[in-house]
């Protein structure tokens, strides 16, 4: 098994106790913990270089600008973008998808046009498109799931027809772990001339990602789900798509010239970065990307596949436990959703918390998917590079305690 346990020393929070027990953090799909390398980068930026970017002649402003743009170069390299100019810094995945919906969808969609999503989407990749249908008269269509919790690619041809102008889907489900139909959906979209938008909030942190190889038009992700700070994410867009996209937000930093009644925009990507950007967060994002690169994304993916395999095996030994997601770890990531007998997921989360185990319980911002699974909520354990198999053993002990407390025979 890939042993990454030496990395745990880099994450100060993993040494703390919760409810008198060592913390077992199994909620990385919600947000990840931060290594000292990221914390130090934030600290160093604020202590030594803090200034506003892009418009100061003084030394600190030049340093801050250089650090901010250096982070853009690092993030671009991390997903193999053709150029750093294809990386727009956003507030996170949600704001990235909204920027595309309001900057591209609003200007290109007409009544009768269709936006194709899948039924496993996070609300962040549903609600912005619902809002855009109100403005444009376009409508939503959905690719369904198979009984094995995979996106049903056999339905792609009938769903993605020439009325479809946008195909937007999750690269990896935050509930099921399912990897989205990257190859099939991008190919189908190209055939009908639709653009593709990939919600990669779970994909980029957990698998090596090459945007040029995937061939989509847009791919968005968040720093805080990949060891970086909250409040920043990246929108990668193919250069020509970014050129034809309008800014969803106006303000300082994003203009070339402003007159009383009209303005012209700065070049890509700055035309999408209105206002003072999250500079320290960008620096932290760059440090997170450096950390992940040093460990190696293929190694991280391998480690998480092993953890997931172990978790699926151990959890399947627990009577009355039902898991929601593919069994084949090559088709999924490390978010493992489950229910246990008639115990509500929030009760499970409370019980596990007393064992020091942090899991998420709820609808995971995927209410349409919850209805399809016919559950009000699930509990979810999710893994990252710093997790070890012993933590999954603790999870299993906690779940047996839940069975005892609820008198599940």
């Amino acid at each position: 098994m890939t042993d990454l346990s030496h990395l745990r020393a880099d994450f100060p929070i993993l040494a703390r106790e919760v409810n008198g027990k060592p913390l077992v953090y199994l909620d990385s799909a919600a947000t990840t913990q931060k290594p000292v390398q990221v914390l130090d980068a934030l600290d160093d930026y604020y202590r030594m270089h803090n200034a506003n970017v892009h418009r100061g002649a003084h030394t600190l402003a030049a340093e801050a600008t250089e650090m901010y743009e250096d982070a853009r170069r690092k993030v671009a390299a991390f997903v193999n973008a053709a150029s750093p100019q294809e990386i727009v810094f956003t507030r996170g995945t949600t704001s990235g998808i909204n920027a595309i919906a309001y900057g591209w969808g609003l200007y290109h969609l007409r009544p009768g046009d269709r936006i194709a999503l899948t039924t496993m989407e996070h609300h962040a990749n549903v609600v912005p498109w619902q809002l855009i249908t109100r403005h444009t008269g376009a409508e939503l269509v959905y690719l369904p799931l198979t009984d094995d919790y995979l996106v049903d690619v056999s339905r792609i041809d009938e769903t993605i027809d020439d009325r479809v102008k946008v195909v937007a889907f999750s690269g990896m489900s935050n509930v099921l772990g399912t990897i989205g139909p990257l190859t099939e959906a991008v190919a189908a979209a190209k055939t009908v001339g639709a653009i593709t938008v990939i919600d990669a909030a779970q994909l980029v942190p957990h698998t090596p990602t090459d945007v040029q190889a995937i061939g989509a038009d847009f791919l968005v992700f968040s720093a805080h789900k990949m060891l970086g700070p909250t409040g920043i994410g990246a929108l990668w867009g193919r250069r020509e798509r970014l050129e034809e996209m309008e800014p969803a937000e106006g303000g300082g930093e994003m203009i070339r010239d402003v007159q009383l009644h009209t303005s012209t925009w700065a070049d890509v990507p700055h035309k999408f970065e209105a206002g003072t950007p999250p500079i320290a967060q960008a620096v932290g994002f760059g440090a997170a990307v450096d950390y992940l690169t040093a460990v190696g994304m293929p190694r991280i993916r391998e480690h998480e596949k092993e953890l997931t395999r172990y978790a699926l095996d151990r959890l399947s030994e627990i009577p009355d436990l039902k898991m929601y997601g593919p069994k084949d770890t090559s088709l999924r990531g490390g978010a493992v959703s489950f229910t246990l007998a008639d115990i509500h997921p929030h009760d499970l989360a409370t019980i596990l918390d007393q064992h020091g185990v942090a899991v998420r319980a709820g609808h995971h911002c995927a209410k349409p998917l919850m209805r399809i699974l016919d559950v009000p909520a699930t509990a979810r354990a999710s893994f990252y590079l710093y997790n070890v198999v012993e933590e999954i053993d603790t999870l299993v002990v906690g779940l047996h305690d839940a069975r005892r407390l609820f008198g599940v025979a």
Binding site: H344, H346, T350, Q354, D401
Partner: protein, 152 residues
């Protein structure tokens, strides 16, 4: 262990066998409540006669604490006057540490004389779950205040 206090047998019994579960055909008062944090849902129908609760029906779904609290509430308030219901609601909220004041609460046994409802005392040690236990009571207050506003 405090988990055993949270998940007492009486809580699990009400969770699995909710009392007065369902809807009333023609309720005099009604309110829906939900706890967006947890996704707990509850609907309360009340039949009222001459300032008393004649009948109540509760429906919804959610965690054991929210559903048990609703079931115990329904079980308890039938036959009570609206003043008694209001007083009971305040006592439960004090038991849950939502409202200030110890008036009427035994410091050693704050839920004394509350019957099954005493079992909610265990929730005090789980601040995140207090909202679950409170949902039924806040929804009950809403139903009665809407009724009061309509009928004077």
């Amino acid at each position: 262990m405090s988990l055993d206090e949270l998940y007492r047998q009486v809580i699990l019994d009400h969770y699995r066998n909710p009392r007065r579960s369902g809807r009333l055909a023609e309720p005099d008062a009604h309110a829906d409540g939900n706890n967006p944090l947890c996704g707990d849902d509850i609907s309360i129908d009340l039949a009222l006669r001459e300032g008393r609760v004649l009948d109540v029906a509760v429906s919804g779904r959610g965690c054991s604490i929210s559903q048990a609290s609703a079931s115990m509430m329904a079980d308890r308030i039938v036959g009570e006057t609206l003043e008694e219901v209001a007083e009971l609601t305040h006592r439960v909220k004090r038991l849950l540490d939502i409202e200030e004041g110890d008036a009427g609460l035994d410091p050693d046994r704050p839920g004394a004389a509350l019957g099954d409802l005493e079992s909610l005392a265990g929730v005090r040690r789980f601040p995140v779950r207090v909202k679950c236990a409170d949902l039924a009571w806040t929804t009950l207050e809403q139903a009665l205040s809407v009724h009061h506003a309509k009928n004077g």
